[in-house]
Amino acid sequence: MNAPAYNFAYLDEQTKRMIRRAILKAIAIPGYQVPFASREMPMPYGWGTGGVQVTAAILGPQDVLKVIDQGSDDTTNAISIRKFFAKTAGVATTTATEDATVIQTRHRIPETALHENQVLVYQVPIPEPLRFLEPRETETRRMHALAEYGLMHVKLYEDIARFGHIATAYAYPVKVNARYVMDPSPTPKFDNPKMDNCPALQLFGAGREKRIYAIPPYTQVVSLDFEDHPFEPYRFNAPCALCAAENSYLDEIVTDDKGGCMFVCSDTDFCEGRQAAGHHGSLSAAPYKEKAQEKSNG
């Protein structure tokens, strides 16, 4: 049902124009954070108000929307946002990565390679990669203006001095188009290589911090590192317990109170797709599903 009390996709047209202009400048200056007049949304900060505003500004009736939260299509955050747009914009929704034209994501990039007709919208909590190193906005803005990123390298170096390796595991800083250092949002660093030379347009929205930034398609995105400590994507050394994938990002699921755990793909669509194609892991859920079906039939 389309709620007639709201404009298409919830936001009013003046707000959409303002966000659209910010998006165009963000695309023109890859990795630069464009300030925008973020609106209050009918959900709390931290639930993706920035991503929702970007999605609302680009979404049209012909779009097919997918929303993921930590890779999963079926968590509260993902379902609420998907329903929000199904209700306010009447758009078709999907969980299949390749069928979606707009994918809003919290903290993951889908495993399935993206294509040219897709836009990936990230929800960003803290857009400023230098914020924990320098709290003053006036200073971080000047550091970006001068491309003065020595502090970030010092931070990574201190990781090495303390832990022997770069211990940053998520929100791993990247340099976009050899100019701006950018926060990829709290995605695991496993996902960083997927941002590089990606055929899809990537848009980032931070609602509380009022920033929009972008990576155009086919743009160089380099994870910061050192010659003797090159960037390495991290992954648990195990196959997925459900689909046996060896190359996907895994979640560790605690299964009992005796230290038992299992590793499963964080990308539910990818994992279900592999299981449907006949891949089974050591703890495959298939027998359980059959049992449940027998019960309901009987």
């Binding site: 303002m18 023109a28 160089q220």
Partner: protein, 202 residues
């Protein structure tokens, strides 16, 4: 005197037409050199092309100071239409304009006269919208940069003829700079400040 009833109309469906137009412009900006089509149609006053009118209705409002070239600003049709449908203030000082509309490319002022942004806020720059003769035939240009998979080729007939030579100032200014939107009827091509253009001759 033109009354409002005599003005060419805006979009039939404001919301969905603006969305569709924006997606064409966004795709153009994200994939420099690619020719995008603007589907929704609005009335076009005087010297304004269909694509330009749609972009104006989609992106302009009271927050966007607007600079018009001589041919546009001399047409009271254009000025009244923009004022009625968008409310964007038309200004004389091009250095503080959010958008500039150019219908006569040959008299394009020096690009330095538009807002180039600052090092801290490079987004505070003018988006220059130029109406050109054709975006599918004419001289060939080779484009490289973010948004382009290797090299893109644009065939276009553009005034001023040295537009892309002038645009080379974007190389040294970056991240400051000028973003261009070229319009020919319903076709639109964007050249953001990151795009490097090499003429391949005819």
């Amino acid at each position: 005197m033109t009354t409002i009833a005599e003005l060419p109309p805006g979009f039939v469906d404001k919301v969905l037409s603006a969305q569709s137009t924006f997606r064409s412009v966004m795709d153009a900006m994200a994939r420099p050199g690619s020719v995008q089509r603007i589907v929704p149609m609005a009335g076009t006053p005087d010297t304004m092309m269909r694509g330009t009118a749609a972009i104006a209705l989609t992106l302009f409002d009271h927050d966007t100071p607007l600079w018009l070239d001589a041919r546009m600003s001399e047409s009271s049709d254009v000025v009244k239409w923009l004022k009625f449908h968008t409310g964007a203030p038309v200004i004389q000082d091009s250095s503080i304009a959010s958008f500039a509309l150019i219908s006569d490319g040959a008299s394009l002022p020096a690009l330095e006269r538009f807002a180039l942004g600052t090092s801290e806020y490079p987004d505070r720059s003018t988006t220059v919208i130029i109406q050109v003769e054709s975006l599918d035939r004419g001289r060939s240009f080779e484009l490289r940069g973010p948004g382009i998979d290797g090299v893109a080729t644009l065939q276009a007939t553009i005034q001023p003829a040295d537009l892309f030579e002038r645009l080379r100032m974007n190389e040294t200014l970056f991240p400051r700079g000028i973003d261009l939107v070229l319009v020919a009827d319903d076709a639109v091509v964007a050249i953001p400040r990151t795009t490097r253009v090499v003429s391949k001759g005819s």
